[in-house]
């Protein structure tokens, strides 16, 4: 049997390649690099466009003032929309994340390959592809029409419906990454299954679950269509999601961008920049949590 250990490590620098292979190698590298550039270009352009057009709207008043009622009125004010974006998506996360995580626990720890689990998994996959307006109309028919009022909470319900399949699938993937040895060790120490799940499996997967949930939140924060049909419109601060119509940044972008006036256009760009900044913060936060507490760094 020949030994795999050699005295000198193999030369992987590519200096000894034939000219043809070196050429092919370089061309491929260049092509891949170009593809990355082309893929990044639209993102950079969008970011640049939003930044350059939206930054003129930024000021302290922008974050605190009420929204001007008239499209033509110059000046800042998006405070209520910023607050409601946070409260509505926060409420949606509060509904969707616990249900989604415990759904994933069922799928991965209990359901495994039972027909019900398979069915739920398939449905979750299908639901991630459903257009967001469908969720909005569902909540409109099942909740808004029934209680006879548009509410911030209705928007939170619609967003929760949107987030739920994403949370379930990402949390399940994270639970699957938890090594079985941990479960066996816990069982060997006499812990029951629920105890193993609560104190071993979930904490181990918590970083991945949190980052998945925050990405779902970030996606939901940018939804326009379900908000417009379920939440309505307001110009003032509405911290209570159960009282009266509300608004979010995404809805304000749509509302202001469809008017021809300079003042409303500027507000639309400003709102877009604010929303991107919020989503960006969420994404960074999820990255930090994911990298700092990743499983392989234990």
């Amino acid at each position: 049997m020949t030994s795999l250990t050699t005295s000198t490590p193999p030369d992987l620098s590519g200096r000894n390649l034939s000219k043809r292979r070196a050429f092919a190698n370089r061309t491929a590298t260049l092509a891949i690099g170009l593809c990355v550039l082309v893929a990044a270009l639209p993102l950079v352009l969008v970011a640049w466009e939003v930044l350059s057009r939206g930054s003129s709207a930024m000021s302290l008043d922008w974050f605190t003032e009420e929204i001007p009622r008239n499209y033509r009125t110059e000046g800042p004010g998006m405070g209520p929309a910023i607050l409601s974006t946070l409260t509505i998506t926060g409420m949606a996360a509060l509904i969707a994340v616990p249900i989604g995580v415990f759904g994933a626990v069922y799928l991965n720890e209990y359901g495994k390959n039972k027909p019900l689990a398979k069915f739920i998994r398939t449905m979750a996959d299908v639901m991630t592809g459903v257009p967001s307006i469908v969720m909005g109309l569902f909540i409109y028919v099942a909740y808004v029409v029934v209680i006879g009022e548009k509410l911030g909470f209705a928007g939170a319900l619609a967003l929760a419906c949107l987030m739920l399949p994403i949370v379930i699938r990402s949390a399940e993937e994270m639970l699957r990454l938890v090594p079985d040895e941990l479960r066996q060790a816990s069982a060997g120490l006499g812990a029951r299954k629920w105890r193993t799940t609560m104190t071993v499996v979930l904490p181990t997967a918590s970083s991945g679950i949190t980052s998945g949930a925050l990405l779902a939140v970030a996606r939901a924060a940018g939804e326009t269509a379900p908000i417009i049909v379920t939440v309505g419109l307001t110009y003032i601060y509405k911290p209570d999601l159960f009282y009266g119509e509300n608004t979010t940044l995404a809805a304000q972008i749509y509302r202001n961008a469809t008017q021809p006036f300079d003042a409303s256009q500027e507000r639309a760009w400003g709102a877009a920049l604010t929303l991107i900044a919020i989503v960006f913060l969420f994404t960074i936060l999820s990255r930090i949590i994911a990298s700092r507490f990743a499983i392989d760094k234990r």
Binding site: Y71, T87, P203, L233, E245, R292
Partner: protein, 352 residues
């Protein structure tokens, strides 16, 4: 830094809970403390997007008059506004079209209140040619694709002084279902013999049409395309700075779109008993022929007396002081007679 996972989960949960508690705490106190005889609280309206700019102007001005009554107008489109009215989701609705059988609004449960009207302009982009005059049959020919070049004899006949290039005509039309399209096609359908495409909120346009979303999108198409012609409301046409054509009216005069022309059209229109009226192709030498009406729907019965009082107060404001704001927002005020009728209808629908 070494953080325990359970600490983090705990902190996150606690934070989320605290946030939701804070969210449930505030609000809900606006009902108290109405000042004197003015109404207070919150009115939610939704509907047509066509008069949105006017309502937004009026709502802002009204907030100065009575800051305790907050009115919102959500421009969801006439159809949605009517169905939400039927579901009881809004306190009053805005609509450009009359209530039909399948709109979900019960007959007898509403009253039309005309508020303003606005001319729909025929705007075009043809460098060096302004003040184009278009007669009704030619307009139909252009928009159904029979006339495809700007130097067509039919266009030249009405404009003997203009030098028309042989640029191809591009139609700028709406991609979304729209009350503007309804009124524009209804005008062509009623006024001309040549028009064969019918009327409705969407039309099967001929092949040389380019669609834009909402009035802003159509205005953009016209601005960007040499040889384009399209129908846009006056507010958007003015804002973008489009060149508008004078259109032949029922009396055979060529009238450029203006607010005075629209008010003249309202004067010439026949008002029905339910206050609906049709100002399209109205009589009168000054009348602009493509003038679109818009209405509010108010309920004949409100469950909540405060809301009824609020609706009455705000609509009364729209019909009186609010009318002076119309011109500022590029909308035509109601003529005095119709304004009087609308106020009467409001007072008899919502008794004090």
């Amino acid at each position: 830094m070494k953080l325990n996972r359970r600490t983090i989960f705990g902190t996150l949960t606690a934070g989320a809970l605290a946030m939701s508690m804070a969210a449930c705490g505030g609000g809900g106190s606006d009902d108290e403390g109405g000042s004197g005889d003015l109404a207070s609280g919150e009115l939610n309206a939704s509907g047509a997007s066509f008069p949105d700019a006017f309502y937004a102007t009026a709502i802002e001005a009204y907030a100065e008059v009575n800051p305790d009554l907050m009115v919102t107008y959500n421009a969801t489109g006439s159809g949605t506004g009517k169905s939400e009215f039927g579901e009881g989701l809004n306190d009053f609705a805005g609509t450009d079209s009359l209530v039909g059988d399948d709109d979900g609004v019960e007959a007898g449960s509403f009253q039309y209140i005309p508020t303003v009207a606005a001319p729909i302009t025929v705007s075009y982009n043809l460098p060096g040619v302004d003040g184009l005059q278009i007669d009704q049959e030619t307009l139909a020919g252009i928009f159904q694709g029979d006339i495809t070049a700007w130097n067509d004899p039919a266009i030249a006949a009405a404009n003997p002084e203009a030098t028309l290039p042989d640029t191809a005509i591009t139609l700028a039309v709406r991609s979304d279902g729209s009350g503007t399209t309804t009124n524009f096609s209804k005008f062509l359908d009623e006024a001309t013999e040549a028009w064969t495409l019918g009327s409705g909120d969407t039309i099967e346009w001929p092949g040389n049409a380019v669609a834009g979303e909402k009035n802003t999108g159509v205005a953009q198409v016209i601005q960007d395309t040499e040889g384009a012609i399209g129908y846009v409301d006056l507010a958007d046409a003015n804002e973008v700075g489009l060149v508008t054509a004078a259109v032949e009216n029922a009396d055979g005069a060529f009238v450029a779109p203006s607010l005075e022309g629209a008010t003249a059209a309202l004067d010439g229109a026949v008002v029905e008993d339910d206050l609906s009226y049709n100002p399209l192709n109205a009589a009168g030498a000054e009348a602009y022929p493509i003038t679109a009406p818009t209405y509010l729907l108010i309920r004949t019965e409100y469950e909540d007396a405060d809301i009824a009082a609020g609706v009455k107060e705000f609509v009364e404001y729209l019909l009186t002081d609010g009318q002076e704001l119309a011109a500022e927002a590029d909308f035509a005020a109601l003529p005095a007679g119709l304004q009087e009728q609308a106020l009467e209808a409001l007072n008899s629908t919502i008794a004090d």
